[in-house]
Homo-oligomer: 394 residues x 2
């Protein structure tokens, strides 16, 4: 029952969407209208709630977000949009706030009719259940194939005044940069204009959600919303506050991003892929992305097989020009390849031990004389990933 | 014991590389020097035999190809190149042909020392075993995780004179366009210059191997070689012969390409992804590629779940601009989505029956008013794919 961000109430309940009684409906309510920044899926196929929120965010303010899991309200046409607005209006009426301040978000199966009646029916209970300590319930309500809820919160003090950044996220499958396929809602009691908030959010996402990959798929429902209600009295117009807030937001988003990869569908390992020695950051990123997305690399990691040949083969097809004879490869601190030649049995033995760990780093030095680098977080590709996704709708 | 292409002898034996006694060493020998065309991996990391063959092919002629499975001779440095040349020279000596006419090809595990001694020791037996009816043995010798050998042959008559195109291939994992990761050797008794042969080969590959995907990975050893020894007396300088040969080569390569996808690691289904109604072929191809490579689409196919939401979601992230509200989707001849809305339970029921088939077509009409289209062949992503690749080296 730890506190969520001051000035915000949250809730998570079962509204009958998940038949097993698990939570499926969440609420975020700010006691005063909050500045809002957001980042949405780049997929051309956008779910109804994404289409709606992209319109709403233009006004700059939000006071409530209602989020359901189990049904994505995607490919549901005009009806899906109308249904979502009905839910929004019903919530606005009961919270007695302007309907323009209510945002909506959905995640789950695509193409099934939106269960608006069940959701509307549950709204009074949802509101009644909300309080300042229900971050965990909110995090649980947005889970789909996630196996653990994802919540992170940090409070810091500036000249004796404290501020908080609290966030929840859901991930599991369909996770890939641009953007990571997931929902994430972050609340803070910092005071900030939408413009500045958006810039800070964009930077923080580039350093977190855009660095993770699970299966290369991008969903139709991706949404990150950041609400800032100013309850702390601290404003980011002060440089000291801005710096501290940026740091806290980065910390929260990176924590949530890592939680998402670690809980990737069927994942058993969290692996940091780092590419160094590149001429440009873009080159390094391209190589890191290809390695992090390679099914052959990911299955080798699942099999705990230090099959560095696959890592090199993946790097080689990234479309980046590098010298194939000058590569160094490390698993954590152990060099297993120098100038593109294996370092021998001893090194491979050490690497075999490292790959058995839950978390480790694969570092590839492409040795092009540059100092550019890039990092991507990935997980392994397991038998369970396939099982989960083969049976998702049944 | 069906005949291979006239004028060529082939063989496949066990040289002790595969410890279970399965065939691991193959030979193609043309009774006269043949024109040779080839296509090689675009991966920056190239195996020793690929580096060697790229040099050799510049001379235009080949008379023998020795191919081993189990060891890729990749990331083996200068030593790997030297070892491969030793094998080449040994074979040339025993066949009493010029060493410049001997090509080499390897497939298997990356980064292990090349077993040149075993191979050299087996060469006399390999030659002794060769005859005009051992296409199957050759096809078996190049298998890695393939579960069936891949051989295709066609003979046609022009004005009473017949010509033949015979090919073998191996695939299984690491299969993706540009180019499909595999080995393929095609022999014909047509007479042709290298230049013309290369052009025809490039076109045929664009219509076959560049249309298939298994897991998006591209190997370090990809090689297609086409040998034409002219034994039929028919020359492609005659237009009629050229047309007939092109058709036959296309047929053989597409047959082999489909066999590769159908035998994709762990694959249980062969699925044709066709995108129509695009403004450009490139747009159509991009969308087809993303759908064909999506782990979520591929696991849904494995689960026999007609989860069209994932197909749309994949199309939407292909980076092609289309109207998200005007999409039609078919499984075989059954329309399950019209103008981006599901066609109802009846259609979905029919789709569920189709997805249970071993082979079917997913046709996506993006309805942009264009007439451009593209086709990609893919397979499902199964539990066995992960198991095979997690345990590959052990």
């Amino acid at each position: 029952m730890s506190k969520f961000c001051p000035g915000f109430l949250t809730a998570g309940i079962n509204a009958g969407l998940k038949e097993d009684g698990k939570k499926d409906l969440g609420l975020i309510y700010s006691q005063t209208p909050a500045s809002v920044a957001g980042v949405f899926t780049k997929n051309i196929i956008k779910a109804a709630p994404v289409i709606i929120d992209i319109e709403k965010i233009k006004k700059g303010y939000a006071q409530a977000v209602i989020i359901n899991s189990k049904n994505a309200n995607c490919c549901t046409g005009k009806k899906g949009i109308e249904d979502a607005y009905e839910v929004i209006n019903s919530l606005a009426l009961q919270l007695q706030i302007d309907r323009s301040l209510v945002f909506i978000s959905s995640t789950g199966i695509i193409g099934q009719p939106f269960p608006k009646e069940k959701i509307k029916f549950a709204i009074p209970k949802l509101i009644a259940n909300s309080n300042d300590s229900k971050g965990k319930e909110l995090a649980e309500a947005i889970m789909t194939t996630d196996t653990v809820f994802k919540l992170a919160s940090v409070s810091k003090k500036i000249n004796g005044i404290s501020f908080t950044v609290s966030g929840v996220a859901k991930g599991a499958g369909m996770i890939h940069p641009d953007m990571a396929t997931m929902l994430c809602f972050v609340c803070t009691d910092i005071k900030a204009d939408q413009d500045k908030l958006q810039t800070i959010l964009n930077d923080a996402i580039a350093n977190s959600f855009h660095k993770i990959t699970i299966d290369g798929d991008t969903s139709t429902n991706d949404t990150v919303l950041l609400l800032a209600n100013g309850a702390s009295g601290l404003s980011i117009d002060k440089n000291e506050v801005k710096k501290a807030f940026e740091k806290s937001l980065n910390e929260i988003l990176l924590t949530l991003a890592k939680k998402i990869v670690k809980d990737g569908e069927g994942a058993t390992k969290l692996v940091q892929i780092k590419v160094i020695g590149a001429l440009t950051r873009d080159d390094a990123k391209k190589i890191a992305d290809v390695i992090a997305s390679s099914p052959l690399v990911k299955t080798a990691i699942f099999g705990e097989d230090a099959n560095w040949g696959r890592i090199l083969a993946a790097a080689g097809r990234a479309g980046v020009n590098f010298n194939p004879n000058r590569i160094n490869l490390f698993f954590d601190e152990v060099m297993i390849m120098e100038n593109s030649r294996p370092c021998g049995e001893k090194a491979e033995k050490k690497a075999s031990a490292i790959i058995k760990k839950d978390e480790f780093v694969i570092l590839l030095d492409i040795n092009m004389g540059g100092e550019a680098s890039a990092t991507v977080y990935t997980c392994d590709l397991s038998v369970d990933y396939v099982k989960i996704n083969a049976d998702y709708r049944t």
